[in-house]
């Protein structure tokens, strides 16, 4: 299913281009201009930080740093089969819940630092959202960050499998 977006300013528009590198996308349909966010506003600073990196190696280095400051870690005793995200090359685990205020919360952990860093950033993105917003979230922010390998549709892709797991949990919790 094609992901929806966080806020649609004009719901009259019928066609949306997904080919956009920035956080704001504009498209025109029937003379009306539509603007939509590709990721939550509070991720803008993170995306810009990655976009400011000199090269891919520096981006990976930054991602390793985000892996270390995971805002909602998952203790290793919670790395159970039930929580495991299926993926050939890394072991990733996530737990999703709704807090007492009705907000979506996720915690996660992975043995791969790149996946762990993306879990940290995804947790920053989704924690506190409604489950509907999470289920409609697109992983565009990762592309904008320049972590290109993490979005290939491979069965072995830890991040994408983790992202789909979070979206599907959000749908169930919603």
């Amino acid at each position: 299913m094609r992901p929806k977006h966080l806020s649609l300013i004009c719901d009259m528009c019928v066609s949306v281009s997904l080919e956009c590198d920035g956080q704001i996308e504009e498209s025109q349909s029937g003379g009306a201009i539509m603007t939509e966010r590709q990721w939550p506003e509070h991720l803008d600073a993170v995306v810009e930080e990655f976009q400011g990196c000199f090269d891919a190696m520096e981006r990976y280095e930054l991602l390793f740093e985000y892996a270390k400051k995971n805002p909602s870690p998952l203790s290793e005793d919670e790395w159970t089969d039930a929580n495991q995200v299926q993926g050939c090359q890394s072991r990733a685990h996530v737990v999703c819940s709704i807090d007492q205020n009705g907000h979506f919360q996720m915690r996660g952990g992975a043995d791969a630092q790149i996946v762990q860093g993306l879990i940290s950033i995804t947790a920053m993105a989704v924690n506190g959202m409604s489950s509907t917003e999470v289920s409609n979230l697109s992983p565009k922010y990762v592309e904008a960050m320049g972590i290109r390998n993490s979005l290939t549709p491979s069965r072995a892709n830890g991040f994408l499998n983790m992202f789909e797991r979070i979206r599907s949990e959000a749908e169930k919790l919603g």
Binding site: A56, Q89, S90, R91, A112, I114
Partner: protein, 408 residues
Amino acid sequence: MALDIQSIRADFPILGRVLPNGKKLVYFDNAATSQKPKCVIEAMTQYYEQYNSNAHRANHTLADEATAALENARLSISRYFGTSPANLIYTSGATEAINLAAYGWARYNLERDDVIVVTEMEHHADIVPWQEMSKEKGIELRYVPIDTKTFTLDMDAFEVALEGAKLVCVVHTSNVLGVRNPVEDIIEKSHAVGARVLIDCAQGAPHERIFFDNLGADFVAISAHKMAGPTGIGCLLVKSEAMEQMGPFMTGGSMIRRVTTEGSVFQEGHAMFETGTPRIAEAIGWGAAVEWLSQFDMREVHSHIQDIASWTADQMLEIPGIRVFGDPSLPGSSGAVSFLHDSIQSQDLAFLLDEGGFAVRTGHHCAQPLMDALGVPSTNRASFWIYNTLDEAQAFVSHLRYVCERFT
């Protein structure tokens, strides 16, 4: 005569590829699949452009040409493997070949409490079909362990496991460790106790000539795509007396002589096992691949690959934190060098190597029992083939050293 590697490389258009990040491709994932020479690509293109038609069915010119090309490819491939075309059953690859041995031979010939011997070193393709057969028929499955110090099969344990065995299934060359097993010894000992033997040559065939009739195994499984051929095709080589014991695996078109509402009469020989429209383009491509490979002395090819693998493994071991699994300097070892860094997870390392343009494999390599024996969840694997060079290996080791220093 020494191999002319630059001339060989010129046969592979993909080796000139520049990746999206501007880095030149260095392809070290040959144990997963090899690249294809121009002659293979052109043979398949010519089939689709000039005589695409279904084989063994019609009497028009294109159908005759397609049928002739399919069967000529069978002749070339069977000659390359030192056997008769009658002993070659086309499959989709080694995995389907092993499944064919399981469902086409073991299901018809083994009974409850019979014993199948496999090893911890096997690819899942040579474990899971036997596990399924064990469940279905009540067959005992015995695993021969590996010696985790030498990375070789425990041959003493093999001889113990062999008692009462009806079938022995062993990988010729490990896709993870690069270790070549003593298959000649295994075949002799297995036959001495009356067991049939299947050798998984998916990794062995790209590194040495497999002469099926001389080898003496009852079944040999091969994938084309690891030896310059296309994906989607391979074969099961079967001794004539073993093929006579086989029954249908998949049923339907092509494999029948006569179908009535009362039942069906099947074809004999390899035709019984080649159900549906054949893999015509793929067979033609594989035929071109073995013709291309035939120009080389595979002992020279293997020596070239082993030199690069041994040099790379030695250099890697000098990088702090790197462990190497297997010993590329062992006689017969292939070009696979599995390694792991003690603090950079294997997938992370693969991404970081990819940024330098180096394509390596990461994961459990479809060999989880072996990973369990080694005590690791996954490894990185650099695997070399005929067109790789020492210069590429030097650049790889240099980038690996840089990555390890920067990310630890």
